[in-house]
Amino acid sequence: SVSLEQTLGFRIKVTNVLDVVTEGRLYSFNSSNNTLTIQTTKKNQSPQNFKVIKCTFIKHLEVIGDKPSFNSFKKQQIKPSYVNVERVEKLLKESVIASKKKELLRGKGVSAEGQFIFDQIFKTIGDTKWVAKDIIILDDVKVQPPYKVEDIKVLHEGSNQSITLIQRIVERSWEQLEQDDGRKGG
């Protein structure tokens, strides 16, 4: 039998039970949690992509190409090195804050179309937010599900300017959605 270490660096093609195929280099095989980690980007690329796959989820694993010449821990070009825990903590905090901001722009439990309409409006008008499942623009205009042109409501009187703009945006967005749909169908 061969040392497990030697599996490192192999270019492999993994088909999971859902027949989704992942290709890349074997980065790690962990028997302690029964997973396989694949590096899916090219060696010299940065940043890198990885995929951790649970072994029980693998239907089939196939080697592509030859045995790598560098199949040992020592020769990997990614080797664990010092991790500054503070830095990790800091990064985590920053990204949580950033994500929170983004999160506000996502409707909870809304349809994909609704989100698309929101995004399109947000592109043009920065002051757009979700209130429950309604889109509120400039605290003036409301778009309710299912977010068609008919669903645009004015909250306060006398803001016709913005309403026409929003109508046009919503209209165009739906056209685009239908086009995309048609393309999908074909």
Binding site: L4, F29, T56, L61, D66, V83, V85
Partner: protein, 185 residues
């Protein structure tokens, strides 16, 4: 008494040393016009010093060098003057001293992976989430599943891959193709 001389230390005149230091900018790694002409000189000097030594002495030193295990590796190439950091700094505290040490190390060797520290941090982090589930409006996937329609239909987590395929009961079953290649090399 044995004196250790390196390329980074020029002991002939203090003025030279000063020049070197003042010349090196805020980032001592950056080259400045004043540094470059200095460099061959040092190289040449050390080269000559090496030659001036009798051969046997060199060999002895070589031997001694091999026997000794250095407390810390030092990168003699850097222009910064080595300040010896207490071992605690290896753990990566953010004091000025510590970071300068790290910096010095950056070129020579990446610092070794701090396994225990990473593990304990990750452990704490995970604890903080799992212990305070409610505070983050935390839901587990199981809960999510039970709330959806499909959840009521029991979902098998085991896809039967292990029991059905030829890799049954084999710990490294999915790696069989790799094993084949390795054996045929």
């Amino acid at each position: 008494m044995t004196t250790t001389s390196t390329t980074s230390v020029d002991g002939r005149t203090s003025s030279t040393l000063k020049a070197t230091l003042s010349a090196s900018g805020p980032n001592s790694n950056g080259p400045t016009p004043a540094v470059l002409p200095q460099k061959p000189k040092l190289t040449g000097w050390a080269q000559a010093a090496a030659k001036a030594l009798p051969r046997q002495q060199q060999q002895q030193q070589q031997a001694r060098k091999d026997d000794s295990v250095a407390v810390q590796p030092a990168n003699t190439k850097t222009k910064t003057i080595a300040s010896t950091a207490p071992p605690a700094n290896i753990k990566g505290s953010s004091t000025a001293n510590g970071s300068s040490t790290n910096k010095k190390f950056k070129r020579a060797n990446k610092q070794p992976y701090n396994r225990e520290e990473v593990r304990s941090y990750m452990h704490k982090l995970f604890q903080s989430y799992t212990a305070g589930e409610k505070s983050h409006s935390m839901k587990t996937y199981k809960q999510v599943l039970s709330e959806t329609a499909s959840g009521r239909v029991s979902t098998a987590t085991d896809w039967g891959t292990v029991s059905s395929s030829k890799n049954k009961n084999k710990k490294y079953g999915c790696l069989s193709d790799i094993a084949k290649v390795l054996r045929n090399q």
